[in-house]
Symmetry: C2
Subunit: 510 residues, 2 copies
């Protein structure tokens, strides 16, 4: 959870090792004039960044990706990230590779050019020509996540997709990993300079007050955030109080319900083991962690998952002291609202150690306003047993909007799959059949978003090719001479992008 109470005025942020709580580094907080300077430079760079071709921006993004994967830099980043997050070097090495892949993916998506939405209606006797293209919004303020220090951090999805879309980026670094953030920013700045990107295309600022300045500045055109509902909604409210309101794309944590169907219950033991891995992996600090699983009564699922939890005995630390405290308090809240502890495994004890807890609750306890429906960030999950499908289907609409949901079925022919898809679709950005919601592939078909309160902008995604759309808006040029049009609207289509001409789609020439 992000603490949105203004902390005491700070001059420094302290990196701490979650395994010990020891301070590992001290990073100066950006002073107000530093934030102003970053925003001014971003604003000054907007025209050059926005007018650059997608191929040019893809080159900048590849330069950053290559810099991250340079062996010495990669080893350094992984060690630094592990020291500040305790997520483990294996996971962090995979996350670094993913981060580099993402940077290249968004560059490729920009080059492909569909994100421009080029639509040309040539002049007719009844009306002049109309040529529509999506233009970049301008400087984007990115608030990186704590839980994916690389893939959703300083150079994560939001930064990569905003740059790909032609917008300068000013990142507010997450205080949970200040040294890593500074190192990532240094690498990016060098890579961008080498690749010829304009000064001001990218900057990092730190400090709580700097974040508010970013949202309130007239230079800022959009905000992207990954984190808690409390944090994301706070920024959204700040932005809504501006004279010129700007969009806030906040992707927030949710409960991500899973349904085990009656036919799927034959696989209870295996599903239970998978469930434990899914809710304890990364110390349960995934926005897509399955926090709530509905199992058929009599399946013995809760007991099986409890045994699996005790066997797996996860020993994990939270990213911050506050997350560890919130996870413990969240468990207490679930008990207060009617859940019973099925199994609990103590954490390693030192540092920001966290207990892994599995709870169960009767289905009647699942009702609006009950904390059982809300995310408890950390390795904590709840099993609810249902009597029959009709009863379950009457309960599902009470759930909050959520990033993802999953159905663990008895196979493709399971008759409950279609009706559960029907019931879950209105609640989610993504439904998974026979898989866990935790993995979010960077792909053309990805949707990482969901109805309020999963995001503040349910039609947007923070992962996948459509992530670029967030940072653009359409402009139509009416009756405009060809050579005065932006390149993708010109008759020779110099960027070779797909276009709709007089209503019919035409492929890009490649």
């Amino acid at each position: 959870m992000v603490n949105i109470t203004r902390p005491p005025a700070q001059k420094v942020e302290r990196g701490q090792n979650p395994r010990t709580g020891r301070v590992t580094c001290t990073v100066a907080v950006t002073p107000p004039d530093g934030v102003e300077a970053a925003l001014g430079a971003a604003s000054a760079a907007s025209r050059a960044v926005g007018a650059s071709s997608p191929a040019t921006r893809a080159r900048w993004l590849r330069a950053i990706a290559d810099a991250l994967e340079e062996p010495d830099a990669a080893a350094d980043l992984i060690a630094l990230a592990d020291r500040e997050t305790a997520l483990g070097e294996t996971r962090l090495a995979a996350e670094l590779a993913r981060t580099a892949d993402q940077l290249r993916f968004y560059g490729d998506a920009a080059v492909e050019g569909s994100y421009l939405g080029v639509t040309i209606d040539r002049a007719t006797p009844a009306r002049p020509s109309l040529a529509r293209v999506r233009v970049p919004l301008g400087p984007v303020a990115v608030f990186g996540a704590s839980n994916f220090p690389l893939a959703f951090g300083v150079l994560g999805n939001d930064t990569a997709s905003a740059l790909a879309a032609g917008c300068p980026v000013v990142v507010k670094g997450h205080p949970a990993h200040p040294a890593l953030s500074a190192r990532l920013a240094d690498l990016a700045l060098s890579a961008l300079e080498r690749a010829g990107a304009p000064d001001g295309a990218f900057a990092l600022v730190t400090g709580f007050d700097s974040g508010a300045m970013l949202v309130q500045s007239p230079h800022t055109a959009a905000v992207a955030f990954t984190g808690s509902q409390q944090g994301g909604q706070h920024l959204w409210r700040l932005a809504n109080e501006r004279d010129v309101v700007i969009p806030v794309f906040a992707e927030m944590g949710t409960v991500n319900p899973v349904v085990l169907t009656p036919a799927g219950a034959a696989g209870t033991a295996e599903v239970a083991a998978g469930f434990v891995r899914a809710f304890t992996g990364g110390a349960g600090q995934f926005c897509t962690k399955p926090g709530l699983l509905f199992a058929p009564s009599g399946s013995g699922f809760a007991a099986a998952a409890g045994r699996a939890l005790e066997r797996s005995a996860p020993q994990a630390w939270c990213l911050t002291e506050q997350i560890a405290a919130s996870a413990a308090a969240g468990t207490d809240g679930l008990v207060e609202d009617g859940a019973t502890v099925v199994a609990r495994v103590a954490g390693p004890g030192r540092g920001w150690s966290v207990e892994a807890v599995l709870l169960s609750a009767p289905i009647g306890a699942v009702r609006p306003g009950n904390r059982l429906l809300e995310e408890c960030f950390g390795p904590v999950a709840l099993v609810v047993e249902y009597q029959d499908m009709a009863g379950l289907l009457s309960v599902l609409p009470r759930l909050q909007g959520t990033l993802a949901a999953a159905i663990m079925s008895g196979g493709e022919q399971d008759p409950d799959i279609p009706r559960l898809l029907d019931a879950l679709t209105p609640l989610v950005g993504r439904v998974v059949v026979d898989g866990w919601p935790t993995g979010v592939a960077t792909a053309w078909g990805q949707q990482h978003g969901g109805p309020w309160p999963a995001t503040t902008a349910p039609a947007s995604t923070s992962v996948g090719a459509a992530a670029l759309d967030r940072f653009t808006r359409p402009v139509t040029y009416q009756g405009t001479p060809d050579m005065a049009l932006p390149p993708p609207l010109r008759p020779d289509n110099p960027w070779s992008v797909p276009r709709r001409v007089d209503g019919a789609l035409e492929m890009g020439r490649r």
Copy 2:
């Protein structure tokens, strides 16, 4: 301007003839249980409307269009509209034809199917399949405009595009034309019933309090509004106070600046006559009315436009008493903020008569916070003379976000076109070269929106094929068996829609 102060509790709305002020009809205001019933029926119809094929919905929309154009109905609607709006039968007949065309256009856009954004990434060894499609949001509350009683009214762009996208619609009728609204709703309900649309797919409610109920109801999934900044922002704030916040697509009036270039000044007399027609047409009650024109100093433009205004001597009535009062007050406000009256032509005197006024102001008066930058709804416009292009270019960024802007040039080779397009693009949803911003064609390439405060959702358009996008959001189905997928994601593509498969665009089969 919409009055957002709660009026005294009403039981009826009175239609009035603007030419005389006389009451022409009395329509009962929908009681709260009637609003609840309409919303409940819309919610109950959501599944059937959303699951219907685009071709089915296109049939419903064509049935409404045909009903509007049935000769007796059309004559009746035009007469009724003229009695309640005084916009004149010629204009209203054209608007009725446009409204029917729009209904068919949005149906055709739905059938074409690009709005579904179908994107399929087939399974790979590294990840399961991802299949993404835009799904309808559910019931949409539509607030029709006063100034286009047909094209942006009960069956206007918002209603047509929401139905086309698969969402039930509950319209809040505009109090300026209650009898027309009731007649349009009756026609639509009969046509929808004949075409086999589900009960609850469409309803009309009336009354100020009914509007607030629509925005606050948990049944409502989105709001579409056309009208004043005050009215649209009020609904947006109401929606933001909900537990589950919903999107508000408010398209609002703006100043729509026009620049006459030095080369274009050769045509001053002709441009001046066109300007007068553009700002006085429909009694200046267009959201795209050019309210501010920059002319080169020494061009004599203000004087020429003043003479054209006196010659044309428009004799017009406003739609409501309040708009007439606002137009007069707005003129006074412009004078208070530094403008001088160049010419004024008295209205016809009776009813909601309105004076047409042309003003001028020095360029230094154009600064943020000054009313010269704000819309004055009605036949009122301002001319500002600029010394040189550099000076003008330094002033343009002070303008508010606006729906449209125009450049009146000296022809395709005019060197000022590219630099003005550059300067105006960040401010607008649409730029027009050598035309007036008033006409908004319903087409694939249209963008009728713009930066805040032109709309509350600058990436959206309320006119054109992309208007459907507002009422959908993407959902991804991961690892889902083919036959459990919604039709547009199935391997056989039964709706024949364009799709992106493994990153590559594929045309629909037609």
